[in-house]
Structure formats: structure tokens, C-alpha cells
Amino acid sequence: MATQTTAATDAFYKQLGRMYGTYTGGFIAFIVLLAILEQMGVPNKILGYFFVFFTLAVYAIIGVATRTAQISEYYVAGRRVPALYNGMATGADWMSAASFVGMAGTLFLLGYDGLAWVLGWTGGFVLVSILVGPYLRKFGAYTVPDFLSFRYGGNFARFLGVIVLVCCSFTYVTAQIYGTGLIASRFLGMQFEIAVFAGLVGILLCAMLGGMRAVTWTQIAQYIVLIVAYLTPIVILSTQHFGIPIPELTYGKAIAEITAREQQLVKDGLAVLCTQQACPAGTLRPHIQPFMNYTPLNFFGIIFCMMVGTASLPHILMRYFTTPSVREARQSVAWSLLFIFLLYFSAPAYAAFSKLEVYTNIIGANIDALKPWIFQWGELGLIQICGKNAATLQTAIDACKAIAGHGGVLRFQDFVINTDVIVLSTPEIAGLPYVISGLVAAGGLAAALSTADGLLLAIANALSHDIYYKMLDPSAPTIRRLTVARVLLFFVAVLSAALAATKPSDILAMVGWAFSLAMAGNFPAIVLGIWWKRATTTGAISGSSPAGAYACSTSWSRGISRRRALPTSG
């Protein structure tokens, strides 16, 4: 019997390997085909449509093909996702628009200080592995509130768990839907507010019918797209600049060139050097100088919050509920870290190559020689030249002319680019073929969609399983439970899209709040629940509520005050 099971498992693993191998080959062939079409003169807009619609269609097909009407398949993918594939799905679930679009942009803007995000997000998986993930799997719950309810007893602990889950996941998913809107509006030429809802259709098609099962197999496909998309431009840039196709090895040389270029810009009067933390906006902060943007306390605070937040985010923790065993859950964390490492280790290099291109091709150029891509982002309000949104070349020229003594050459302080644009525009900044831009957009979309799927599922599952089934109607039949889950998923998705359409803040900030919320509300109750037998129901209830409320109030009120967030400085 055991031999039969092992043989069946081996066959299943081989089949998965064949399927995703074929998929990867097909995706690379698709990129080559579009590159050929570009050489034949097919317009960029058409190529952009191909990238966005083709990838969305593939995810939707996987989502629909893996639909299910079984509860365990819907909530935990039948608990038969192999460690390697769960690692890949967790990688996609984890690497959101914040990682793909926002992180390199933040490293570009903050230089050394931006490393706090990379360190925190990578280190968090050590905590998941040691403190939380495998133990929740051993417990065998469907959701994190399920664990809290069983461990602490009663539905009040469950209810608090759901509140924390909804607060942090909703903040997080809004950032992802904002990311899909940003990409869709730029590459499909749609109005942002409409693009947000267009992206939503893709998200819903992946998650609604098949729940965790569909999301898992879609996320693996999305991981392949996002990692190819992220690495391709920097491999090309590394080869172009230094003749070595491994950006992590040439990163140091790029940093040295950035430092030399910064000194040159200051010498040529094109930038004003900032030498301490309190500098006016528009001054150049050296890329390699630490603590120019964050105080040491805030720098290490971000590392700590991102680490602990990682180990508390319900949509990540629930991924480890899908493995066949506790052992595979532990192995899966190691695989997740490897797949995440591939992107995170490259992000500082991405930021460095991008910055080098900006310092070489944009700062110091004549205003009338600016490239058209700048105006496409400027139209969305994401690039400013001389203090005005760079919607057209004439707007930029007029804005700079209005500045007394402006010589018509773009200075450092004249160019302001939103951090969310850096990754998406790097191929254009470097003058790479448009097919690379389209590929990066497809990667960004995959990252945002995969995380949004996971988050929406976490919220809908908590509401349908924990609130509806466990608290309101424990005798509900399977079909009704699934219907409730799907309806809730739809409404939560629409609500977050409506919020994202208001551009509440930049992606990284929204994601940062979600981590702090999860950290404050979930971490103490989960960790003490596993590691301290003396923790009681009253203690958990009293501890989760004030901590979560504090974090919610600070994060959200800050979010309200930043509703009109403008592009961050360049």
C-alpha cells in the first residue's frame, strides 16, 4: 500500500515537472515570438496588449481548469502540494507588487537605507521556519483564526484573529490591486481607475472558482513569469555594461560608477550634495551612505517589523497548510526562501543599474531631448520635471523655463520619479527593446495578481469558514459554504479595488503597514500559543486587542493623511 502511494506521488511530481517545464518553454518561446514581431514593426501598444492579455488568459485558464467543489481542496488544496512547488507558490504569494515594483524603486531612492526592506523580508522566513510554519501545519487548521480558536478556546479568540487578518490583508491587497492598476493603465493605455477594475477580473478568475487549489497552481505559473521578467533586464544590462551576465557579481562595479557619477554631477553643478540626514528635498543623498533617510532606530525597526510581520501574515502562513506533511512544510519554507532569494538578491543590483542609467542618460541631458516614455508616466502623475507632471515635452520645457536661471539642462533636483515606476521604466531608461518592457510589465502583473489572489483568499476563507461556518451556521452544507466563500471573495475584491482606485498611498508604504498590523495583532498570540503552554484565553484576548488596535490606528490614520501622496523624490 505504502509502495503504491509512493509510486503515485512520484508520478504526480513527474507530471507537475513536465507541465511546468512545458509552460516555461512556451513562455520563453512567446517572448522570442514577440521580439521577432517587434523587429517586424508591430506597434509597441499591440505588444503590450499581447503580454498583458496572454498572461492573464493563461492564469485564468489554470484557475478555471482547477476549479473544485470539495472543501479541503478549496481551503488547503487537498493538502497534497509538494514542498518544492509550495515553495514556488509561496514565493509568488510573497513577492507582491511591493517586492517586484516597489523594492528596487525604494533601493533606488534610499540607497543603502533601502536594504532594510530586503533584509527584513528575507530574514522573516527564518522565523516562519523556526517559530510558526511547521507547527501550524502539524495542528492541521484551515485558517490562522482556526488555530487561535482551538488553542485558546471559544469563538472570541477566533473573532479577534479574523479582525486582525482582515485588517492587515485588506491593507495589503489594496496595494496589490493598486499595482495591477498602475501596470494595466500604463501598458494598456487605460484610465487608472478603470485599469484597477480590469486587473480585478484577472484576480477573480484565478481565485474564485478553485480557491486555494486554483491559486496554488496559478501562483506557480506566476512565479515563473515574474522571476524571468525580473532577471532578464538586469542580466542584459550587466552584460552590456561589464560583459558578465550575472548582475550580482557586477553590482559592486555599478555602485562604484554611481559614486563617481554622483561626484561628477555635484562638480558640474547639476546636483546639490546632501551630507547629513536633515537635507531639503531635491538634494543628492549618496547611494552608499548609510542612515541618510532613516535613523538607525528606524532602519533596524523596519528590518525587525518586516521579519516578524512575515512570520505573522495569514496569507503566507496558510500556504504551509497545503503540504502533505509537517516535514514537507519545513522543507517548503527552505524552498520558499530560495525562490525569494533569487529576486531579493537581485533587487539591489536592479536599483543600481537603473540609477546608473538615470544618472547617465537623463540627468545632464537637454530638456528638449527627453525620451517619449517619460511623458507616458508623466501623464499618470508619476514623473515630474521642474515641479510639474511631465505630461508633454512642452509642459516640461515651460516648467523649467519658469525657473529663474535654468539653463535648459536637466538637473538632479528637476527630475522626480515615483518609486513605483523605477522597475517598470528601467528597460525604457536603458533603451532596451520594448519587448523587455512588456516582459517586465507582465512580471509585475504576475507578482501583484499572485499576492492579491492569496490575500483575497485569506480574507474570504476567514469570513466564510471562521465567521459563517464556525460561528453562524455550523450545519451549513458544503455547497453553501463554498458559495458564501465565493460571494465574499467577490465583494472584498471589489471593495479593495474601489479603495485602490483612490490611490491611497505608494505600494511599499501600504505593504509596510500591513506587516506592522500582522506583527502587532497576530505574532504574540500565535508564538505564545505554540511555545508557552501557560498562555491563556484571557491573556491572548487582552493582548491581541490593544496591540492590534494601536497598530491599526497609527497605520490607517497615517494612510488617510497621505491620500494625496505625490511622487517621491528622485
Binding site: A141, G301, V308, A520, I530, A549
Partner: protein, 97 residues
């Protein structure tokens, strides 16, 4: 505790008395109602993204203190927690499917 300084300029970010006197902060309801100064940054000069840095230790502290003050969990529950920590063996909670 209430330094409320802009980490960039070192200037005071807000006049507390003025803000509390100004009914406009109510417009931020419900978040600001819970903590009207929160959106201005500030305790220990912490960036608002790091608010978990204060919330999490508070959570740990409250759970530990309140738990120690009450009756300890049942022996069955303590045995179950021991079981969860073992890497081998069957899943503790089998859900009906």
C-alpha cells in the same frame, strides 16, 4: 514619549494643544479618533510603518502578565501543545471534509 519631531528637519511637527483644540482632527475618524496624533508620526521618533515595534511588545507583555494572573490551561491543552511541537506524527486536528 512625545518628541514629535520631524526626523529630517528636527522641527516640532505639531502643536499638540492646537491640534486637540482643532475639531478638524475628527474628520480623520475612525483612525484618528483612536489616536489623533498618530498620523503626525512620532512616539520615540518612530516611522509609522514601524508601529508594530510598539504594538508587538505590548501584546507579549499583556498576554504574559494576564496569563500568569489567571488559571493555567487544562492538562489536555498542554499535552496538545506538546504534540504540536513534535515534527512527526499525525495532524492534530482532522477537519471533516
Amino acid at each position: 514619549m512625545t518628541s514629535l519631531l520631524n526626523p529630517e528637519t528636527g522641527q516640532a511637527l505639531i502643536n499638540v494643544a492646537q491640534v486637540m483644540a482643532d475639531p478638524k482632527w475628527l474628520a480623520d475618524f475612525p483612525a484618528s479618533a483612536a489616536n489623533p496624533l498618530a498620523n503626525r508620526v512620532g512616539w520615540f521618533d518612530l516611522n509609522n510603518i514601524n508601529c508594530g515595534l510598539l504594538g508587538m511588545p505590548l501584546g507579549f507583555l499583556v498576554i504574559i502578565v494576564v496569563s500568569l494572573m489567571g488559571k493555567e490551561p487544562s492538562r489536555e491543552m498542554q499535552a496538545l501543545i506538546d504534540e504540536i511541537r513534535k515534527p512527526r506524527g499525525r495532524t492534530v486536528l482532522e477537519e471533516k471534509t
